[in-house]
């Protein structure tokens, strides 16, 4: 079996090779957003770090949730996907710092989730499923050949998202 393709911090990967498995390892406050076109079999995974881009940066910058989503849609379409067929799944956005006094200031996870919901709403796109928030890190995998997306936390089994 081929090695999975790691989608690192602030990266996106789009593939139409059925052998590929796209993975975002150890998502804490970051979001892993997967898009699947079940007809053209194009799949893409985004590993976004922060809620919103600054003015003037690349409108498709994968580091930010807002520009990252737009960039992923764009690249999916470029690879043959149809926008109205996209199945979208999302995981991550945990609050890793739960100590008193610290968590509020640093809850980037919640802000990332909020940003994603806002973006999808303004694009009139719906999320098929999500596993977000909480206090635990997650690994997400996207199996391109079967269009399956999974999520796993420490000490537990990989489950369908």
């Amino acid at each position: 079996m081929r090695d999975p393709i790691s989608v690192g911090l602030g990266e996106r990967v789009v593939s139409r090779d059925p052998e590929d498995v796209l993975v975002a390892y150890g998502l804490g406050s970051c979001l892993g957003i997967g898009m699947i076109d079940p007809v053209s079999r194009v799949c893409g995974l985004l590993h976004a770090v922060l809620p919103a881009k600054n003015n003037g940066t690349d409108p498709f910058n994968p580091k930010f949730v807002d520009s990252g989503i737009n960039g992923l849609i764009e690249e999916m379409i470029k690879n043959g996907a149809m926008r109205n067929r996209l199945v979208i799944r999302m995981a991550g956005g945990a609050n890793m710092l739960t100590a008193p006094g610290l968590s509020k200031t640093f809850d980037i996870g919640a802000r990332n989730i909020e940003s994603a919901h806002d973006v999808f709403q303004s694009l009139r796109m719906t999320l098929k499923s999500e596993d977000v928030g909480g206090t635990r890190g997650r690994t997400v995998r996207l199996y391109v050949g079967i269009g399956r997306m999974t999520v796993r936390v420490i000490g537990e089994k990989e489950v369908d998202l």
Binding site: G28, M96, G101, F106, T139
Partner: protein, 203 residues
């Protein structure tokens, strides 16, 4: 915080090395007092690494690890994170509690609080050295402890520094008791103001 690359020159690195050594030596004295045995902690190096390099140092982003996080507050600010892969954390607990090797098999609340104390002491001593060297008022926050995937722990730093290409200072700390040794890593993420204070406080 800015995304600009911080300027880590040789002089600054050697100052940080001095601060790290002093802080770690003080921490070792504290631990020896607690243990009643001579625990030594040495600091073989301080170097600058890219954030994205850290998961590889710690066995991969999905590897399970324990993180102890502190903030330095006051005239200057910064963040300190002690991260230990899970298996090494078990070894360190045995060493600190005075158990034979391989006694501890999982991290319960007692073991976690012991590790929190390690992070707390080492981080606090580092901050105190920094404070006495620069004459600035700096205080540590209470420690937050988490057990999770390396990548998820790292997200705290990534999110608060706002960058993915940022560099952090990596300090190694080796805990030794007799012939037993546990290697750990600290990351210190100072802001630019802190670095300037160190640079000029030293001159």
């Amino acid at each position: 915080m800015s995304e600009n690359e911080l300027n880590f020159d040789d002089k600054l690195m050697s100052m940080l090395h001095i601060i790290a050594n002093e802080g770690i030596n003080n921490a070792a004295r504290g631990f020896s007092g607690l243990l009643g045995e001579k625990l030594t902690v040495n600091n073989p190096g301080v170097r600058m690494v890219e954030l994205k390099e850290i998961p590889h140092i710690l066995g991969g982003p999905e590897n399970e690890a324990i993180g102890v996080y502190l903030r330095a507050e006051g005239d200057i600010s910064g963040q300190i994170m002690l991260v230990i892969p899970y298996d090494k954390a078990l070894e360190l607990v045995d060493l600190l509690i005075g158990n034979p090797p391989n006694t501890t098999q999982e991290l319960g609340s007692f073991e976690r609080s012991a590790l929190a104390e390690v992070g707390n002491q080492t981080g606090t001593f580092f901050i105190n050295s920094l404070s006495s060297l620069t004459g600035l008022d700096v205080r540590p926050s209470p420690p937050a402890v988490m057990v999770d995937m390396v990548g998820a722990i790292l997200d705290i730093i990534v999110a608060t520094t706002g960058g993915v290409s940022e560099h952090v200072l990596l300090m190694e700390a080796n805990f030794e008791l007799g012939n037993r040794k546990v290697e750990t890593n600290f990351w210190v993420i100072p802001d630019e103001k802190t670095l300037n204070a160190i640079r000029f406080g030293a001159s």
